[in-house]
Structure formats: C-alpha cells, structure tokens
C-alpha cells in the first residue's frame, strides 16, 4: 500500500489556527530557498520568525528545529517569549521539508540532506547575531548538525528529549521498533495517523483538544503525512543505513562542542529514555541539565520550556560577554568526612553498636579495616570515582562502613528515604542514575524489577535462590574479600567532587536530589561538632537516620537503638535506655515521633534504664517541628539533659538551633521559634511583596516576613539534574533560598511561618499559616489545624480546617467557629471546617499537606463534594 505525496508548496497556516495557538500572524512566513541539487529550482519553507515584532536589538537568534511528527507549532511559546522587551531574542522555528506547512516535494530526505537544507535556509534568512540551536526529538540531531557546521555563529545549544547516537548493538526502543518495521511503517505513519496520535497521546498532562488539533493541522490527510514515514525510515539503526555516516559525524562533533549547553528532559518518554540523556551528558559534560519530573516526550508542551530557556540564556549570559560567576565564599580548611576512621585505624575502642535482633559491635579498627576493604573491593568491581552508588541499607554497621567506603573511593552515594514509598523511591533513584545498588533483599527486589541500576550488591542475608533470581553480582562480604587482595593505590577524592546525592522528603512535589561535595559533607560534621560539642568524649545514640551516620565522622562512639528507623514511632523508652547504657551515651538524637513514643512508654522503664537515661547530657529533637510540651516530657525522661531542637532541611541539614530554655524565653509569636543560626551559618530574609512573591534583597530587618535564606559552608552544592530549580534557589549570590517563610525577631531569633507555597494573599495583605495554626490549636476541642486560602490570590479568603475531638465534618458548629475566629483575630476567617484527618507528609507524619487541604477546601466551599 503506497500513498503518493502530492507536491504542494509551502503555505501559512489558517488564521484561526494561529489565533488558537497565540501565534502572531506576522511571525508566520513562507521563504523560498534555492534547491541544492539539479532539477527543481527552489524549495519553499514555512517558519515562525518573530523578527518583525521585536522592539529592540536582539541578543541573538534561537534556531528551533522540531522533530517527528510535530512542526514549528511546538515552539510557539518560545517564539512569543523571545519577543520580550528586555534582552529580546529573535526566534526562528522552521517547519522541515515534507513537514508542517512547508513544501511537500515527495523526495526522500536523508539526515545529511536535512542538515544541508537547514543551512541553505539560514543562508537565505540571515540569522541575527550569535545563534543558539534548539532541538526536539530528531530535530535535536539536525540542529546539532547545523551547530557543528556553523561554529563561528554558534553560541549555545539547547536539546530536549533527543538522541545523537543510536548504537547498533543496542536495541531500538520497542515503540519505535514497531513503527520502523518495513511492513508496518507506511500503515502506522502515513496511511493512518497512528504515529501522530500516539505522540500526542503521551503528553503529560493531556493536551487540551484545541492544542492537539494545532499539532494535527498540517497532517490531516495521508498525502500530507509522507514526511512522517520518511523520518521514521531514516532512523539509522543498522550499520549499513545510508544515514549512518552523518549520524556518526554529528555524534563525534557534538562531543567537541564547548559552547554552553542546556539539556531539558521529560523522563516519561518511551522512546528517548534515560540512556539517551546519559549519552548526551557524557558528550556534553559541561551541559546544564534539568529533568522535569513527570513530563514526557512532549516536554516542550508539558512544561514551561520557553521560560526555562530564556532564564538559562540570561543566567549563562549566552550571546553576551562571558562574565565571572560569583565566587563561592571562602571555605574552612578541608578534612574528609571519613578522616577520623583513617586516623583511628589501630584503635580497639568501640566505634559503633547496633542493637536489636542480630546486635553487633564494631571497634574503630574493625570499622576502618572493613571500610578500607569495601572501598578496595568496589574498585575491584570497577566502581570508579564519580560513579553513583545507591544505598538501601538500614542504619547500622553495614550502612556506616559502606557509606565511608564509597566516600573513600570517591563513589557518589545516593540516599533516598524508604518513607518516599516504592513509587517515590523509584523515581528518585532512577533520576540519580546509580551504577550500583547496594541493599537488603527487599530493596534489591524492587531495584531489579523497577530497573534502578544495572549492578546489584547485597547487604545482609538473602533467601535461597534470590541471589540468582535477581542476578545479584556480589555480597558485601565478597566485595570486602576481594578488597583484601586489591593492592592498587586508592587516591583520595578531590574535595570539590560530588560525594553524595540526598533526596528531599517530597512533601512539596516530587523528591529532589541534592548534591553535596566532600568538602560540604565535611562541613556538616564540623558544624555539628561546633554547635553541640560532640567529639570523641561524647558517645551518641541516634534514633534519627542522618545522624546515625555522623558518629564515626565526629569520632564519637555511636549506637542505634532497637527500632524500625523508617518508622520513628517504634522507639520505646526501654530500647532508648538500652542503647544509652550500651555506650554510656551522652547525646541522644531522635525525631519528635520517636521521642513521643519513648515518652509514652516511659512507665516500662526499669530503674537501671532510668539511671542510664539520667546520664544523658544533651538530646536533640530533629527532623520536624517539635512542640515545647514534648521537649518538657522528654526532659522528664532525661533529667540531666539540655533539650535542643535544630532547624534545617535536606539542602542544609543545620540552619539554626534552639534550646528548650530559649523556647520558653521566646514565648508565643507569629510562627515557630527555631532559634539562632548555628556556627558558621548566616540567615537573611527576602521580604514578601504585596503579591506574596519573595522579591526583597537579602536583609536582617527584624519583623519583616519573607523567604528564609541561608549561607553556610555546609549548604548543598546544587540540586542534581534540576538546573532551573538550582538557578532559582541560588539566585542571590552566596545564598540558598529555603522555600520557608519566616521572620527574625529583635533578638536575632528566626521564626518559621510556613512554606512560601503556602502563603495566602488576602485583600488585607499577606497571611502566613503557622502562627495562626498554633493559635487555632490552642482552642478547646481542636487537635490539629491547617490554615489555607481559597479563591484568587490577592483576594483569598482565610479558611481554618481543624481536626476536632468532638465534631463531625463539615461546617464547624457556631461555638467552635466563634472560638477559632476569636483566637485568630484580627485576621478575618471566612470558614471553619472540620475534617476527620488532616493529611501529613510521608516522612515525618507531622507536616500538614496544606496544598491538598487548600484544594479540598476550594471544592467544598464552592458547594462541590470532595474527599480530603
């Protein structure tokens, strides 16, 4: 079955189509280009070009090349965005020949033809100033071909879900393989619109019908779709494919490009999967990368790619004079995180104690030796510095030794919390692209079936048969054994290389990977030591995951109590006391949930347990905000201890600290008092504007509410594979924007008022939730409260949703409503609603998911039915 293409010259799309797509009619042009070969004289192209509507001199030109089966419509928002007043860019988005509204010639266009044709077109057009190529899908490859051929004009490259290399020995993705089969291709791509419809159907979120029609417009009939089939036929998947040499040429040339590069990626792409992104990152190691978690192949449609590209051009000053980036603040002297282990490799004293079933004790010497063996063993298994290793091992001797082994080797540890759930964990681990997963059996099962990494190493026992079924490469003991015979020198990693990727809790969107260098990890140890005076003389009990690992770095003997660390509420007072007794513990770290359960089970304590707890001099409640009354109760359990609670986040584990005494002195205020900056840290506030945006310059004016900024040697290096997120969080040189909102008081204490994303803007001004929630919770009968806004920003109404001990949903009775309103005066409250249960985050089970509460309130207060 063949469909003949009827030759047709290029045309402009119908006005209605342009209008629906927000495309200025002046951008739509038809250009005649002299044909290279003999025979025909010209080829006619349709393209979008905003040159006519620019009000000022453009910085340069963005040359945008679509893939298959889209057209310049894909770039319409970038064409519009480029025509901005300040630093405008000319944006030229072409329809390739046989595609979009360009000419249907009926000819075959090989990759080399397409690259040459594009060059012929730009010769006629005359591009303004430096050029940045922008490509999607196979357009990425063609745009790179143009880039390589025009080095004098080239100022940068932007690539979105594309590939420059199709190794013959690797299998083409199944979706494409089907479309490429000679028998299927014409039917799937030309005769029917199946290929086109499939592409449109995998947009996330779904395309609205009007937009989908825009993509379909030039491909309404079979004779218009010849180019779609032609593109698929030109995929050089075999050695002898005619387009193979050009592919190799572009792939090689791309590896030599040294202009700024931006890779924008939608990971939910069945064709251009993670390995193509990996290949591009290897070719363009200097590229900035942003993965739009949740977006797919049509990433340009799914997310604000236009805004992202312009932000990147500005931030990298592409097309301008290359400027110096603000230098990082001077750092303290560098000492590797694992230095103490190395220094105490002959010490027979206890380093670490693991309680519970299979309790273990390791001396400094054993731990140092084990770490060294594992580091060498991993090297023997060809894990190199810079390779990523995901650790899915519960805290204890195994985790500690493998963590320090990776750091010693220079392998980058990837740590995500099991609290994210299998789906969240899969998304996080796969985003980090580890080479190896080291885990307990349960983790390895998920790692194999959900394709987290190519190589699996087991920690702890496996049931019979599991090893083979999962294809586990080795056990930790085998790695260590191999390491004992690995004699080659193991250089220490450089301080500014990546050391770890830690994942956020994902309570505000998908979990984000946060990259730390060795220097910054060392700084975390130093700030903990300086703030809390923890060192060799202060054995510590850690019932809170991150701190379990810090003991060996601090040179302190550490113990983890018998509990499920992923479920903090399982810590009993007896288990805590047992751990304290085991090492004569002076310091206790625990999350509020763990502390609360310990307090609840205090009656079970034996006298010896009480005596042991009486020896604790310091305890820290970490990980989530804590109520002062819980700290009071914990002090009753550990009467000689100072109670402290630090404030921090994955991006900066310690920002401030406050003691119980200081909390008492501070009293009530607008928000939760989190104390003063820890050693070496500085805090500033970026004040909120009337519209709730944090636009203020970093300042320390008391009383001004704004986004909390932190600057410290132990703050994250960057977000991993999230260039746009990183750029936004670091837009003030030297500062990290935390996304939290708060204010400083006259005594320099920081008060947290909520998340930036949870700020309300009413017609009376900006309202922050935390302080109001505390006041609502003080009302009789209220167990928990969330303050959210409904309605358009600027005129939002304040809604208080409470968990009540006595009332059923939904509209609070007159007495409760009146009491809550009185407690919140002078803030005007539109509604007091009762919910059975307020949703909280998975990790700490303590932070209310206000976004969800707000969405629910918006619905029920509009008279709709909704579930919370």
């Amino acid at each position: 079955m063949t469909v003949r293409t009827i030759p047709t010259v290029a045309s402009s799309p119908p006005q209605a189509l342009l209008d629906a797509g927000g495309i200025d009619a002046r951008w739509s042009r038809v250009v005649e280009v002299p044909a290279g070969g003999p025979g025909t004289t010209t080829r006619s192209w349709h393209l979008l070009d905003n040159a006519a509507t620019l009000t000022g001199e453009p910085v340069g030109t963005l040359l945008c090349v679509h893939g298959n089966p889209t057209w310049s419509y894909l770039w319409r928002r970038l064409v519009a965005a480029g025509a901005r007043e300040d630093r405008p860019w000319r944006v030229v988005a072409v329809d390739q020949l046989e595609m979009g509204f360009s000419e249907r010639t009926g000819d075959t266009h090989r990759l080399a033809d397409r690259v040459r044709d594009l060059g012929a077109l730009t010769d006629v057009l005359g591009l303004t100033g430096p050029v940045v190529t922008v490509g999607h899908d196979w357009g990425g490859l063609i745009s790179l071909g143009w880039a390589i051929d025009h080095p004098d004009q080239l100022a940068g490259v932007v690539l979105t879900n594309t590939a420059v290399h199709q190794p013959v020995d690797e299998r083409v993705p199944p979706v494409l393989r089907l479309a490429m089969a000679p028998a299927v291709r014409p039917l799937g791509t030309v005769t029917t619109s199946a290929f086109l419809e499939t592409t449109l159907a995998i947009a996330h979120p779904r395309l609205d019908p009007l937009t989908a029609d825009g993509f379909r417009a030039p491909y309404r009939s079979a004779d218009r779709r010849g180019g779609i089939g032609g593109f698929v036929a030109d995929i050089p998947a075999t050695h002898d494919h005619p387009s193979r040499p050009e592919l190799e040429r572009i792939a090689d040339g791309a590896s030599r490009l040294d202009v700024p590069a931006l890779l924008l990626w939608g990971p939910r792409d069945p064709v251009f999967t993670a390995r193509y992104l990996r290949d591009l990152r290897e070719r363009l190691p200097h590229a900035d990368v942003h993965r739009f978690e949740g977006a797919g192949h049509l990433v340009v449609e799914d997310r604000d790619v236009a805004g992202g590209v312009l932000r990147w051009l500005d931030a990298r000053d592409v097309g301008g004079s290359p400027g110096e980036r603000t230098p990082a603040p001077a750092d303290a002297p560098y000492r590797p995180l694992g230095a103490a282990l190395d220094e105490r490799s002959d010490d027979e004293g206890t380093a670490i104690v693991e309680l519970g079933a299979g309790a273990r004790r390791a001396s400094w010497r054993t731990l140092a030796a084990r770490t060294d063996e594992l580091a060498r063993g991993l090297a023997a298994y060809e894990v190199k510095a810079g390779d990523r290793v995901a650790l899915l091992v519960p805290p204890g001797v195994d985790l500690t030794s493998i963590l320090y082994a990776c750091l010693r080797l220079g392998a980058v540890v990837v740590v995500a919390d099991a609290g994210l759930g299998v789906q969240g964990l899969t998304r996080a681990v796969r985003a980090a692209e580890p080479k190896v997963v080291i885990g307990i059996e349960r983790a390895l099962v998920a790692a194999r079936w959900l394709r987290w990494a190519p190589t699996l190493i087991s920690a702890g026992p496996l049931r019979p048969g599991v090893r083979r079924a999962l294809g586990v490469a080795a056990s930790l003991d085998e790695v260590a054994a191999l390491g004992r015979s690995w004699e080659e020198e193991l250089p220490w990693p450089a301080p500014d290389e990546d050391a770890a990727i830690l994942f956020t809790s994902g309570s505000t969107g998908p979990a984000k990977g946060v990259a730390y260098t060795h220097r910054r990890l060392g700084a975390i140890r130093d700030v903990v030591a300086a703030t809390y005076g923890i060192g060799p003389g202060s054995p510590l009990v850690a019932a809170f995951a991150p701190f379990v690992l810090l003991g060996p770095a601090l040179g302190a003997t550490s113990a983890s109590p018998d509990m499920d660390v992923t479920a903090p509420g399982t810590l009993t007072a007896t288990a805590l006391a047992e751990a304290v007794r085991a090492i004569d513990g002076a310091v206790v770290f625990a999350s509020p949930a763990a502390l609360a359960n310990a307090v609840r089970t205090a009656d079970d304590l034996a006298d010896a347990d009480r005596a042991a707890l009486g020896g604790v001099r310091l305890f820290l409640s970490a990980g989530a905000p804590v109520q002062p009354d819980l700290l009071e109760a914990a002090v009753a359990l550990m009467p000689a201890a100072d109670a402290h609670t630090p404030y921090g986040m994955t991006e900066s584990l310690l920002v401030t600290d406050v003691s119980l005494d200081e909390l008492r002195a501070a009293g009530a205020g607008n928000g939760v008092c989190v104390g003063r900056p820890v050693a070496g840290a500085r805090i500033a506030i970026s004040a909120l504007a009337a519209d709730g945006a944090a636009t203020g310059e970093p300042a320390t004016t008391p009383g001004a509410t704004g986004e909390v900024l932190v600057s410290a040697p132990h703050v994250k290096e960057r977000y991993d594979g999230l260039w746009l997120t990183q750029d936004a969080s670091a837009r003030d040189a030297g500062w990290h924007r935390t996304g939290d909102v708060g204010h400083l008081d006259a005594d320099g204490r920081l008060w947290i008022e909520g998340r930036l994303a949870h700020v309300l803007v009413t017609d009376a001004g900006v309202v922050t939730p935390v302080g109001l929630e505390l006041r609502a919770r003080a009302v009789h009968g209220v167990r928990a409260a969330a303050v959210v806004g409904v309605g358009p920003r600027g005129t939002q109404q304040v809604v208080v949703v409470v968990e009540s001990e006595s009332q059923a949903p939904l509209v609070a009775d007159a007495v409760l409503a009146a009491n809550v309103r009185e407690a919140l005066e002078p803030v005007s409250v539109a509604a007091v609603l009762v919910a059975t249960r307020l949703p909280t985050d998975v990790r700490h089970n303590s932070k209310v998911d206000r976004i969800r509460v707000a969405a629910w309130a918006e619905k029920v207060l509009a008279g709709e039915r909704a579930r919370l």
């Binding site: 017609d763 109404q797 509209v811 539109a830 029920v860 008279g863």
Partner: protein, 329 residues
C-alpha cells in the same frame, strides 16, 4: 444639598437609602407605588413615562432601585418594570438635565449558574443569566451603562449582593418563614461560601457612588460585606438572631436543583398560588459559592463596609426582640 430622586423606596433597602439622604440634609423625592414614609412621594410605576417625567423634574441625581424582584411572573412582566422602567428613567433624566445616575443592579446579571469565588464584576449577560429577574436586570444594566455620557448624564452601576437587615422580607423574611414551618433544608453540606451585604453598608455604598470620582462612572461594581461564610453558618446566624430553630435537614444539592427545576415548571404552567417552595435559581444560589473581589469596588467608590456581619446579626437580634416586645403583649 443635592436634589435626589430615589426610586423603589418602599422596600427595606430603598427606604433606608431615602432616609439616609434625608438625614444627610438632601432634598429627597421618592418614586414607588405606595408611600415611602420618609420623603415626598411621587406614586406610580417606573413603567409609566409620564409618572417618571414628573418624578425626575428638577432633580440633580437619581438612585434607581425600583425593580420587580422575586421569582413569580412572566418575562414580560419583569421586562416591563426592569428594562422599560430603566429606559424611561434614563430618558427622562437626560431630558431633565440630571447629572448623576446611580443604577442599582445585581451580581446575578453576570452569574451563569456556576460558583463564583473571588469574582470581579463580570459583564452583564441578558442571554445567559439565570431567570427572568437576572436577565431583565442584565438588560437594564447594559442600557444604563450605555447611557453614560462623559459630557452629560453620568451613570454608574452598583450591584449589592444579598442585602439584608432588620425588616428585610427577602433573605431574612424567607428564611424565617421556612424555618418556622420546618421547611428550611440545608443544601448539600451547607459549605458553599456566600457573601452578603448588611443593609447599612449597601446604603453607604450607594451614597458613596453618588459622590464618587468621575472616573468611577461608566462601570459596574459589586458591593458586599467582604465576609463570605458557609451558607449553613449564615442560616444558623439568621435563625439564632431571630430566635427560631436552626435548620437540621440536609438535602443533596443536586436533588434540590432538580426539584427546583420541576417546581419552576409546575408554577409556570399551572395556576398555583404564591411562590414555589423551592426554585432552581434558589437551589443554585444556596449550593454554589458567591463571593467577590472587593478591591476595585472599594477603591473606586472610596467606600468600605462599616457594619460587620456579626454586628449586623446583633442588630437583627435586637430589632427582632424589640418587634416581639411590641407585637406580643
């Protein structure tokens, strides 16, 4: 002192406007069928051009509240008063050299049946507004704003939302009547946020409109207390203020809307007395959100509400107690 004509001064709202203007020392004339009891009356219908011409004579300003409200009657009956009446007044006012014309409209002119949460004053839509009242008021507002003339008669449209207070026969009266008969259901969960306007605030807004900046004229403004509440809370508040039991019966909102639709049809086709116990319009009003962005209104009119919702309910309670003392020996 300004010479003002107030139309529709027999209802709670119109009478309060006329009384306020009198108290402020203005020369007030009123036009309505019955006596206003507060100022010099011209009695008759706005649908009658001769009556209107007599009422407008020598006036400097007009506040036009007269309208056929409620839900009973044919489209023609509504059109006669609301559209033709407004056209008559506008023509007469222009003829008489009136300078300022405050057209009292309703947010329902732009309400198409869905929830309004923080909405502005949308365009009046006579084709799609819900019910005869809203449609004819929409047409009237379009006429009024079209008559605004920068060099002659200046027109401003003010849309107070659900005006209530002591002596109100619309919201308060109906709620009480039904509550007393045990026929006051709560639609759905009763959570729909509804904003209302205490009568004194609405009066203030109209007086403010009369003296507002020139630039405010030619446009429509929604006026409310700016204190939306879940409808159940409002009903409870009114019932409590008037000493009647709060509503207890919950009816699913969708059921109420369908029943309302059926009753609408029955009352339209059959010679049934009075008003239907529930109309689709009422069901929609009571089960969807209605609250508005007040920023533009407050700035343009230089007005903001003085009596809070709670204060209004207290005043309603005092008034009810006084009435009871007066009527029950």
């Amino acid at each position: 002192m300004t010479r003002v004509l107030v139309t529709g001064a027999s209802g709670m709202f119109g009478r309060a406007v006329a009384a306020r203007l009198v108290a402020d020392g203005h020369d007030v004339r009123t036009l309505q069928r019955g006596p206003s009891g507060v100022a010099a009356d011209v009695r008759g219908s706005v649908a009658d051009p001769a009556t209107v011409a007599e009422a407008v004579r020598d006036r400097e300003a007009v506040i036009h509240l007269a309208a056929k409200a409620g839900i009973v009657g044919s489209y023609d009956e509504y059109e006669d008063v609301n559209v033709r009446g407004t056209a008559n007044l506008l023509a007469a006012a222009r003829e008489a050299g009136v300078a300022r014309f405050v057209h009292v409209s309703s947010p329902s002119v732009a309400h198409l049946g869905t929830s309004l949460a923080g909405a502005g004053a949308g365009a009046a839509d006579p084709d799609r507004a819900r019910g005869n009242y809203a449609r004819t008021k929409a047409a009237a507002e379009l006429l009024a704003l079209a008559a605004d003339d920068a060099d002659g008669l200046r027109v401003i449209a003010v849309r107070p939302h659900v005006v209530w207070g002591p002596g109100d026969t619309q919201l308060v009266g109906r709620v009480l009547e039904r509550a007393r008969k045990g026929r006051l259901p709560v639609l759905g969960d009763g959570a729909a946020l509804i904003d209302t306007t205490y009568v004194d605030n609405a009066v203030d807004a109209l007086v403010a409109a009369l003296v507002a900046d020139e630039a405010a004229y030619g446009h429509a403004y929604v006026v409310t207390n700016g204190e939306p509440r879940p409808v159940l809370e409002l009903l409870r508040g009114i019932c409590a203020a008037c000493g009647v039991p709060a509503p207890r019966r919950h009816v699913p909102a969708a059921v109420a809307r369908s029943v309302g639709g059926v009753l609408d049809t029955a009352w339209a086709r059959l010679p049934l007395p009075g008003e239907p116990p529930l109309t689709r319009f009422a069901a929609e009003q009571l089960s969807t959100a209605h609250w508005f962005d007040q920023r533009r209104t407050r700035e343009a009119l230089g007005w903001s509400p003085v009596v809070s919702l709670d204060e209004g309910l207290e005043r309603l309670a005092s008034w009810t107690a006084a009435e009871r003392a007066r009527t029950v020996p």
